[in-house]
């Protein structure tokens, strides 16, 4: 059994990925309603993944246990932390879970941008902590950005490879730092794209059409932002801004206004685009 902490977009998707590959999951959240939503969403996502052929059609499906009691993950073989992108909250949850699981249990954070070593500082055994930046939806996108912190042990890295092997994912291991590779670049691109829309130089459709048509991106930056969730984009930008001091990462006004208005993207039905929301 693996533990997945946080039943938001990523925690839910990671739970789908795991049970679809026959791995039992204990999904933990503080909110019972979110757990109920997640249970229904996992069932739907499994079907969507099967239709698209990104998940094994046959073979065992893992058991999904939803709980608000963190002590239920004591026997987990690995922990995937996917709570909201707030450094204090992630630190609190990781510190708590590190006191519950056995020494040597992998603590894998799915942080978007917080340096792994910063999070490792709060746990009982910093060597057990590594980062795995899954993309959304994790059961569709095979590639995972894996982050090795300066104190991450070789044993923990072996556990990461074993876990991602079970989940049939590919990985690239990179060094630690705010935003790692993907978000150090991507969040800036999203922020600048939003600023361009804010300045009235181009519509979201125009920006995305250029990245798709000129650069061959599968999804443009603003459609990607809607998929990530604009609340998470703003949180990640703040993490990057605070840690680098680089003003280019300060979330632009348009992005902040959308978050303030509850326009988080796909998960709320509206962001830079309108979405038909059946899987909020």
């Amino acid at each position: 059994m693996i533990a997945v902490l946080g039943a938001g977009v990523m925690g839910t998707g990671i739970a789908t990925l795991a049970i679809g590959h026959g791995v039992d999951v204990t999904l933990v959240d503080v909110d019972d309603d979110k757990l109920a939503t997640a249970r229904a969403a996992v069932k739907q996502q499994l079907r969507g993944a099967k239709i698209m052929g990104t998940m094994p059609k046959s073979g065992p499906v893992g058991e999904l246990v939803c709980t608000t009691d963190l002590s239920d993950v004591a026997a987990a073989e690995a922990v995937v932390e996917a709570v909201t992108e707030l450094a204090d909250l992630k630190a609190k949850v990781l510190a708590e879970v590190s006191a519950i699981v056995a020494p040597g249990t992998l603590l894998l954070t799915n942080t978007s941008a917080i340096p792994v070593d910063e999070l490792a500082s709060v746990v009982q055994r910093p060597e057990d902590v590594a980062g795995a930046h899954f993309m959304n939806p994790p059961y569709v996108i095979r590639m995972v950005e894996v982050i090795r912190g300066p104190r991450t042990s070789e044993a923990a890295m072996d556990s990461v490879r074993t876990l991602l092997g079970k989940l049939d994912r590919d990985l690239v291991v990179v060094g630690d730092g705010p935003g790692f590779v993907i978000n150090r670049v991507l969040q800036r691109v999203i922020n600048e794209s939003a600023r361009i829309v804010e300045e009235g130089l181009a519509t979201p459709e125009d920006v995305d059409a250029l990245f798709e048509g000129c650069l061959g991106h599968r999804t443009g930056p603003l459609a990607t932002a809607d998929l990530i969730g604009l609340d998470n984009v703003a949180d990640s930008l703040r993490v990057l801004h605070e840690r680098t001091g680089d003003a280019g990462y300060a979330p632009c006004d348009l992005l902040l206004a959308k978050v303030r208005d509850g326009e988080f993207g796909r998960k709320t039905g509206k962001g830079f685009y309108e979405h038909g929301g059946v899987w909020a």
């Binding site: 739907q44 996502q45 079907r47 969507g48 993944a49 099967k50 239709i51 698209m52 052929g53 990104t54 059609k57 939806p137 059961y139 569709v140 796909r266 038909g276 059946v278 899987w279």
Partner: protein
């Protein structure tokens, strides 16, 4: 409402374009796993069927005609 008309309306509302009955939704690049899910949920709600097992295959969702055929089969199998 006929399956084709309702389904076509649904596709138009989501993709902002019209679709021929035998046009490949996936080849046009508009159908993602997320959209496939919306489609399943729509079909289940609109036609009271449950899409499960062997039916969860991209081939059954490739065109409006194929989706219609699948829904007819599922309806026939439902008591």
């Amino acid at each position: 409402m006929s399956i084709t008309v309702g389904l076509h309306d649904f596709l138009v509302s989501r993709t902002k374009r019209a679709w021929e009955p035998d046009e490949d939704l996936f080849a046009a690049g508009v159908v993602s796993s997320l959209f496939a899910l919306e489609l399943v949920v729509y079909l289940e709600k609109a036609h009271g069927v449950e899409v499960e097992g062997e039916y969860l295959s991209i081939d059954n969702f490739r065109t409006i005609s194929r989706i219609e055929k699948m829904v007819h089969e599922l309806q026939a199998a439902t008591p």
